[in-house]
């Protein structure tokens, strides 16, 4: 989960406490979202959290609206690319929107 480290510590120590004390019936279900797992596949080339260490552009500082528009541009072919068109066409409108929102939220939280 990509909260700030302070927040994530609080969330997860809370979760650990719940697990230890109460057992299965009261576990706070924390499903990992589809947007998050799709986003992690971007990180292989673009670096973890989208912060690129090399010549491939960073994608960590793009608003949700702009990210969605860029990805849709790659899907339609309107936006010229080497490889992104071949990737973006593998996702549905809904997935593109969700992933764009996910990146937008990561940006707002400061990772």
């Amino acid at each position: 989960m990509f909260f700030s480290s302070k927040l994530s510590k609080a969330v997860f120590s809370g979760l650990a406490g719940t697990l230890a004390l109460a057992g299965a019936t009261t576990i706070q279900a924390q499903e990992i979202s589809r947007a998050q797992v799709i986003a992690t596949t971007c990180y292989t080339c673009h670096g973890t959290y989208g912060v690129s260490p090399g010549s491939i552009p960073s994608i960590n500082d793009i608003s949700a609206e702009r990210m969605e528009s860029i990805l849709q541009g790659y899907r339609s072919g309107q936006r010229v690319s080497t490889v992104m068109g071949r990737h973006a066409s593998g996702y549905t409108d809904e997935e593109v929107k969700e992933v764009a929102q996910y990146f937008g939220n990561v940006q707002k939280r400061g990772k």
């Binding site: 973890t48 090399g54 080497t82 071949r86």
Partner: protein, 434 residues
Amino acid sequence: MAGISRRDFVKLLGAGGAASALGLNAGCETVPKSSKAAPRVVVVGGGFGGATCAKYLRIYDPTLNVTMIEQNANYVTCPGSNWVLGGVRTLTDITQNYDALRSKHGVNVVQDRVTSIDATRRVVSLASGKTVEYDRLVMSPGIDFRWNAVEGYDEAASELIPHAWKAGPQTVLLQKQLHAMPDGGTFILCPPPMPFRCPPGPPERASMVAHYFKAHKPRSKILILDAKEGFSKQGLFMDAWNELYPGMIEFVPASKGGKVSRVDTKTNTVYTDEGLTTHKGDVINFIPAQRAGEIASKSGLANEAGWCPVNQHTFESTQVPNIHVIGDSAVAGALPKSGHSANNIAKMTAAAIVSLFRGVKPPLPSHVNTCYSLVSPEYGISVAAVYRLDEKGVLKGINEAGGLSPKDAPRLQRVQEANYAQGWYKGITQDTFG
């Protein structure tokens, strides 16, 4: 979670896994001792699969107790090792360490070798004599070779005729031989039968050796004697070879006499056509047929073909519960055996394991593969794909996505992709080890 039924979810938890993941079997002798403490995951192997999985397990859930066992202090990556042969990078450039896994991600990295796994007691035994208990085990042992599948080629032979298909000392050995070769000599490259690690690796190797020859030994030849009929990105590679290295590289498919049946290290000769034709090389690079890493087969995880069948959603072994097999060793549907695939599989597996511990549904996986190859430092080509689970639970490429770099693309695109190939290396190694 859309697209997954309760029944499927219980199935994903595996035999015996459902109860323990939900914390329902207290008092039962199979309950992990740590059921009230942080769950323990042990990861075996520190390559692209293992290191990524250890890192992302801790990213997804910083309370997890994650131990990674790797026999080497550093990891020399196979990606980039052809670039070393081409003189484009040094071995130091492609050597990664585990400092960030330890210091930044809180992974307990143990330098040791796994000798056996007791899947009933959930204990891993190490060469040092130590043992490590786990709640879930992730095996990422990479590949091992089928020594003697071709007469005359065993581990001892590889010290004379290198495979260089695990990067490190073998890469250095092949490089030394190429440097010592006289101008006008013949380099013979023998790619293995499918399935094997990094399908575009052999033609990229031929390209990088050609790049080195062009600069230093321009009268030399490269002969590819292949156990297959064709190879990955063949059209793109051959167009590029004609342009950059005209007349230097000859490809012989299996049916035209490319299949090697015997290797003789004494005379530096390979035999094809059932032994009727001999090819003497100044330098030979023989890449043997492959199988899952030895520890996987020794632990009952491999099938008769030598690879490890898994549930392709969670990558839990279909043969041994609570053990996930990832990376090159796993039977992963349409995903090729590549560092990129291993990195993606590792992340999906980490998400699945964390979900199973929490007693929630693992997210549906989404995989990507991108293989860049350098034909020269300024000429790059790629193949890409996006993979999803089909209705039978098999990972398949999405038809609408993926494919090769376009044929007859402007040179600028090849330059750009060469630049991105090197950016990809930085990205994936940061995402895996950083």
